[in-house]
Symmetry: C2
Subunit: 246 residues, 2 copies
Amino acid sequence: MVIRSLENEKVKHYKKLSQKKYRDLWDEFLIEGERFVKEAFKEGVLKEVIVEEDMDVSFSVPIVRVSHDILKKISQVETPQKIIGLCKKRKETTIGSRILILDNLQNPLNVGTIIRSAVAFDIDTIVMGEDTVDLYNPKVLRGTGGMLFHIPIVFFDIKLLLPMLKDLNIPLFATSVSNGYDVKELTKEEKSRFALLVGNEGNGVKNEFLEQSDKNLYIKMNEKVESLNVAVATSILLYEMRDKSD
Amino acid sequence: MVIRSLENEKVKHYKKLSQKKYRDLWDEFLIEGERFVKEAFKEGVLKEVIVEEDMDVSFSVPIVRVSHDILKKISQVETPQKIIGLCKKRKETTIGSRILILDNLQNPLNVGTIIRSAVAFDIDTIVMGEDTVDLYNPKVLRGTGGMLFHIPIVFFDIKLLLPMLKDLNIPLFATSVSNGYDVKELTKEEKSRFALLVGNEGNGVKNEFLEQSDKNLYIKMNEKVESLNVAVATSILLYEMRDKSD
């Protein structure tokens, strides 16, 4: 059966997932394009596949066939794909020892880019603070380059987390544009066990958090430049803190 | 006098500058926000200042006062500023010896971010290939964080440029995700004189250019990740290639 009506209950359900409140309510999100859908399947989070009527696919989950027009309506990206996956959110509850904390980041492309770099440079946990942009925003998903499923992502209140890190003996590093500690000077030990906290695009890390950090890291650069793009700065820090083969 | 009409010739002129063809025809572009307008003034490229009627400004260039509504219509950004600068494009014709070449980059945020990183890591010339997104696109300008005026930017056909670099004895480095040369292995001499060529977000550097490069650089990372965001990858390469105090 091919669904051709916008009034179909399934179609209504998928369309609602463009809104964060429904993604939160149902713990579901959509992911677009064959590559990402395959990744979701491998990771065991794929619940259903929505495809254009004549598309040839085989997944061992229910397959929902819709017309070209309906698929376009469900799609949340500018260049719609022929295949969309309905995924369940995975709830991570454990925390590793090479942690990246994102506080109040607002640009979805920055967040996606940072997640991709975090996988590249062997971060083992990402903590998303409550006021950071929704992880399941389609622009974030695209920015990750399919890496979303390769790293545990935890949602937690940063205010509560910071004292817990102290208890767990995990040093907290924050970023600051001045009065910092050159990331190149970190020891092998410091690179092996840490939580790195990065903050908002315009305002940086909140003062109340900066005060709790063990070290504020900076990147040496030409003094004409006040700050780098936050995704670039975070990626360079993670690149330096990758402790393999140094 | 305060301009309150959309039919005013000046207003029509400013509004046309949202289109690349008029920016190209008149060699002009708009820049928004006090900080950027001041930078433009310092660099001698500011021709006129457009401000909301009651705004207090002093620049030794003509000041055009417009109503709040007109300013909003001229503005090309989502959160309009109270001050906009009309700038003339600067034509750079000389080329340095720490060169970054951008070929067919399409995302304006990536291009702006890369320009910012290039200033941070002491690149002395950026070459924009013909099919890269327009430098004077408001999203590019915003992404540079005001750094546009701090680096010479040259527009040139990359096909013609590459043989010229050989003549000038400037080694060409390109980026490739596999079969590359770890950027960490570059010598001090190699970092002091080079042209780094980066390519399109999806497709990377064109094969015809890759073949002409002296070295293809890569960044060591977890093998799960196929590639980094292009602005991140370029910034890490430039960070490594900054030869000061290494």
